[in-house]
Amino acid sequence: MPYDTLTTFFGKPVEDFQSGMEAWDFARTVPRFRIDYDSQDTVPMLLAAYAALPGAEATDALVVGAWQGDASEASSQEVVEALVSYAERFPDLRALFLGDIVSEENEISWINQSDLSALWPAFPNLEHLQVRGGNDLALGRFEAPRLTTLILESGGLPRRAVQDALAAGAPELRHLELWLGTDNYGGDSTPDDFADLFAGRLFPKLNTLALRDCDYADALAAAVAEAPLLERIATLDLSLGNLSDAGAEALLASPAVAKLSRLDLHHHFLTDAMMARLERLGPAVDLSEQQDEEEYGGEIYRSIAVSE
């Protein structure tokens, strides 16, 4: 996972920008910059060619796809630096997807990201930032006055990136989505990292909290079930993780969970009986993709969704 690149982003169709193109429909089409393993181009050079087109300053959304070419280890650093160095050509950039990379190109847990902190001052109008890949990801200390959506997809999100995201000056944030992953892929966060968030001290306008692909989903569910934050959000998403009946019991016992409008738990290890109890709880519950535990040498394994 994931298997297909985006067809739409920020409400518009997405198309690859290719070298040699000498015009673009800036108002209607979002450009994606990506290269293949045998490409003569680089993503920064494609971006440079695009930025040189008259009218590029109308761009409000950009998608960066596979940047690594035949160098599978290449990080996003050069791409980030190119974006920042062309920031004056994109004064109205509102949405950025950094890493629209499918598993055929590079598995999510192999994607090497970098320090993205220079993006924030360069693009102060950013409303939507989506990043795929957690290796070496850092967001830095940042102020993002208009950010409403922050999505960090990974096979293992470093604690540093979790802390950066939660320390953000983002008063408009409505959708926070973190794929926490496993420590096999560098995910080293713990439930304690979310204490301030759960206590309701951060992000006054938050509406959707998605803590996905978590390999300590039961402990996380127990912590979030008691969170004062739940009183003021509509959607809780604990999908793609290794949630079992133990974590679900904690959710069932929480009056605040019962008052949510949506609870997304798809890809889980719940029993049929537990699923039936959750269905009656109140919120619209997504319980699809029930998984089976596996046993090797007497140990029970419950795999999170990103475990290629």
Binding site: S85, A118, G140
Partner: protein, 342 residues
């Protein structure tokens, strides 16, 4: 998935690319040649470029190019490790100039507008030209560079001055996300109108504290995230706090900042060995560290100055003599028998 054709996009123009072999010259190239890409890595034949060359991406690393001029216009110019001494006025680079380790490079063009300027390890570079306004400027290891131009404008990315020991001042204004002044012992303040949004690497700089206008900015010590006590007030750290630090890199920085000698005394180190040499008594000491290899240090006196030094050595060391031999580069202590120490 078949992407929908962009109705506004005309048919693509086929990009013009040229590769020059190491012994091929550009002598036959006409003036005003237009290329998308010219690759000439390790080229030994060309010393200059043809007049009026337009080339979006020109890569000549490790080449014998001596001068880049002739009004070249490009987006990306890569000259790493080349013989280039001068990039002449009138050369236009939009996106990126990379000229790492160009040992002879002395002159850059005025009003260089590239967003990324990477001049790391250009040892002969003594000054930068006026009108420079990159987002990312990398001058790490430019040890001959004494000052930055007065009108240098930084557009939000990173300024890396690591180990530019001669530079004594930052630009009076500008904004970067990341600032690296590690090893810049003469930089002791950050001007009021110079903003840093994400982090500053302050290891071995002249900075004694963060100025008020940068309160809350992250601190690093040669790449390791630290807090302001580790960076500026290491004497406030406690032994228990250092031993309890989970992150091994950060703990190493804490140890280095606190001082090995003070730490060994406070942590009640175990003495592995003791003897005498011309500098006086020596000790080999060991402290266990949770989740990391033990800290083993040898304490020695300098015969000429009388000062005492604590040197960290590998944890496999068992005698003072072996440890001191290791610090002198000998793996086998039997090979280390100094006649005279100065």
């Amino acid at each position: 998935m078949s992407p929908r054709r962009n109705p506004a996009a005309p048919a693509r123009r086929e990009p013009a690319r040229r590769v020059l072999r190491p012994h091929e010259s550009l002598a036959d190239a006409e003036a005003g040649l237009v290329l998308d890409q010219l690759d000439m890595p390790g080229n030994e034949a060309a010393r200059t470029l043809p007049e009026g060359l337009v080339c979006h991406r020109l890569r000549a690393p490790d080449s014998r190019l001596e001068e880049v001029g002739g009004g070249l216009r490009c987006r990306e110019l890569v000259l790493d490790g080349s013989a280039v001494a001068r990039i002449a006025d009138g050369v236009r680079i939009d996106y990126r100039l990379s000229a790492r380790a160009c040992q002879r490079l002395k002159a850059l063009p005025a009003d260089l507008r590239a967003g990324i300027v990477d001049l790391r390890d250009c040892l002969a570079l003594e000054s930068l030209s006026p009108g420079l306004s990159p987002a990312f400027l990398d001058l790490e290891g430019c040890t001959a560079l004494a000052r930055l131009p007065d009108d240098l404008t930084l557009r939000g990315g990173r300024l890396n001055l690591r180990d530019c020991a001669l530079i004594d001042a930052l630009p009076s204004r500008g904004c970067v996300a990341q600032l690296d002044i590690a090893g810049c012992g003469r930089i002791d303040h950050i001007p009021e109108d110079f903003r840093v949004t994400s982090w500053i690497d302050v290891a071995g700089s002249g900075l004694a504290a963060l100025p008020d206008h940068l309160a809350g900015v992250g601190l690093r010590w040669r790449g390791v995230p630290v807090d302001d006590r580790i960076a500026f007030r290491p004497h406030e750290l406690g032994v228990a706090e250092i031993l309890g630090e989970r992150n091994a890199e950060r703990r190493r920085v804490m140890l280095e900042r606190f001082g090995f000698e003070a730490f060994m005394a406070a942590a009640e180190a175990v003495e592995l060995d003791a003897d005498h040499d011309p500098g006086g008594p020596r000790q080999l000491l060991r402290v266990e560290l949770d989740g990391d290899e033990p800290l083993v240090c040898v304490s020695v006196g300098c015969p000429s100055t009388g000062r005492r030094y604590f040197l960290r050595v590998p944890p496999t060391m068992t005698t003072c003599h072996q440890a001191v031999a290791w610090t002198a580069g000998f793996d086998d202590p039997a090979d280390y028998a100094p006649l005279v120490e100065t």
